[in-house]
Symmetry: C2
Subunit: 339 residues, 2 copies
DNA sequence: TACAGTTGTCGAAACGTTTCGCACACCGTA
DNA sequence: TACGGTGTGCGAAACGTTTCGACAACTGTA
């Protein structure tokens, strides 16, 4: 591998001049500069990132800290990672995939102490996330995909739950529905302070209120079985519900079974929305469900980009909310008559 | 951050002695060694990976080269990545997530030329994969998750399609079925030389032959619609088929719809197997489908481990095949009577 | 006492960058 | 002619490791 010295020799200049010319660090006469660039090209010179990092204290490597795959870990998380990696790559950065060990704090300390990464990208952020405190305290630049309860001045990219809920409610209300029910994620996740569960729950309620339509929540089925049971309880208590938004894929399966068991059909007798699930999953249902698809790739990209911007220089907190994409499927229709 | 010199000062020895003691590179008197270790611990010393890499030419970083997410990119690919990252982490390595640019060859050249990575992990390997030739030629250590048509002496970890097919056929035959049909992945993937499609196709045929049961293939539905049509054509031509193995998730949806349309039930009238799909997906079906779950995490782990072993020293090619895990669901039963 | 071998430690060089003080030549101005 | 300013380029130091030849202090043997 050609080094800076090789280029210097070939261009008949000092090593430091080559460095300056190639990085634009300080002015270099155009003739010299051209000569250097040509020499570099001829030798196929590539800067050694280790040497550069050692000297400049900046490696242009970001760590993506991801927790042990929960159940339901899948496409969305993959898209965070690929989106972040792509955006980083476009900006000349690299992304290190860092599985979270037993002790995430230690993990972070390790990574930064090693001098290997410039910054950290957090995913699967809890409402109360101990990692953020440690990162803030230790001065390591970081940004979050998702956000804590009070992000303060921390950079983040997250789903715009308010806009998403508004879109969903508007869609349903536009079809003529007067009462919407909402099935949140499983009780476990909810109790754990899982951001999307809490926020989506709040925002759907608010959006329904704002739109002036009826609203029922409090259900948190985490499996097909629970979904089925929840739906039956729902209709017992609120027979006038004509539209339902479900967060959990498996719960949706149960709902569909319950609908069929009742002799009903989707969408004629129930409008069903899948919230925060990918269109790829929605297509596995029959009929194809209307989905609020999370902008996962975009969030990954944003997370990486704002972290890199932060590394380049200070500035105000970068906080971005992106709404889900409403993909209308075959599970949306006007409400059944409530005779 | 404490450096080797700080430790040396505190322990009252030379820098080189500290290095030797900490790495076990050469013998150091026990007393000295203990003194050094204590000093290191007190200072919270962590070796600077950049400096180490610069000197030793080994960074302990692996690159996971992944292609642009195809459709159907999801849990499986995520598990390759997380598995590889975990295994690497356990062995003191790091995993760099490297999105494949327009020119994968250039991408690899870039990564290795930069001096950043010790080796490359390839996923989504095609039967004829140009990347392998380049990597072999350029002398960069690498291993594959999946494998080319003729892997030669290249290290790889892949699904054991033969064993998987045997298990599947044995399961079906054990239930009493006498004729099995197989729906491969979409025509596009098949034509593209996608390894799993080709190999699974071949091995299912071979396994059925070996087990002495009837076998039908040639179908490649890539969507629910195509799955439905394929199933109808299948039964027109082969009314005595009682069991079906499907590779594509969406095609399975179509098959289920077609079964229902016919007034049939699963598993009473048809035993349905989902091949190379995760149990999480299988659970979304109703009834829960019997699945041959790919050992994705394991393959990721193996890929990383064998690459690291290769880096540590030469040796014979490491080639591992791991069968899918048969998860029996509620879609398996004795054949319907063929009266 | 002299010498070879062993054991433990040291110091310096090297890896490939970036950074920074300095020197040289040239310009226009006083 | 002398002088400050400007535009270029150079050389050396530094980043934190690893590696390797040299060397001092012992040990045991002749």
């Amino acid at each position: 591998m050609a080094s800076l010295r090789d280029v210097a020799e070939r261009a008949q200049v000092a090593v430091s001049t080559v460095s300056a010319a190639l990085n634009g660090t300080r002015p270099v006469a155009v003739a010299t500069k051209r000569r250097i660039e040509q020499a570099a090209a001829e030798l196929g010179y590539r800067p050694n990132l280790l040497a550069r990092g050692l000297q400049s204290k900046r490696t242009r490597i970001l760590a993506l800290l991801f927790p042990a795959p929960r159940s339901g870990f899948g496409l969305t998380e993959m898209q965070f990672a690929t989106g972040a990696a792509e955006a980083a790559s476009e900006l000349g950065y690299h992304l290190l995939l860092s599985p979270e060990s037993a002790d995430p704090i230690d993990e972070v300390r390790h990574l930064t102490g090693l001098g290997l990464v410039d910054g950290v990208l957090l995913m699967e952020v809890r409402l109360d996330d101990e990692r953020t405190e440690f990162l803030s305290a230790s001065g390591v630049p970081f940004s979050m995909i998702g956000r804590t309860r009070e992000p303060g001045s921390i950079d983040y990219a997250d789903i715009d739950f308010a806009a998403t809920a508004r879109d969903a409610v508007a869609h349903v209300a536009g079809l003529g529905h007067r009462k919407l029910a909402f099935f949140n994620l499983s009780t476990d996740l909810y109790a754990d302070g899982y951001g999307p569960a809490i926020r989506a729950g709040e925002e759907f309620a608010a959006a329904a209120r704002a739109a002036g339509i009826g609203y029922v929540d409090g259900f948190r089925p985490g499996s097909a079985k629970e979904g089925r049971a929840a739906f039956e309880r729902l209709l017992d208590a609120h027979p006038d519900v004509t539209a339902l938004a479900v967060m959990d894929d498996h719960a949706a399966v149960g709902v569909i079974a319950a609908v069929a068991a009742r002799g009903w059909h989707i969408p004629e007798d129930l409008t069903l929305l899948l919230v925060l699930s990918s269109a790829a999953v929605a297509e596995m249902f029959h009929p194809r469900l209307t989905t609020l698809e999370p902008p996962s790739t975009e969030l990954g990209r944003l997370g990486a980009r704002m972290l890199i911007e932060r590394l380049r220089g200070d500035g105000p907190p970068r906080q971005r909310l992106v709404p889900c994409n409403l993909v209308v499927g075959d599970s949306s229709a006007a409400p059944r008559s409530l005779s």
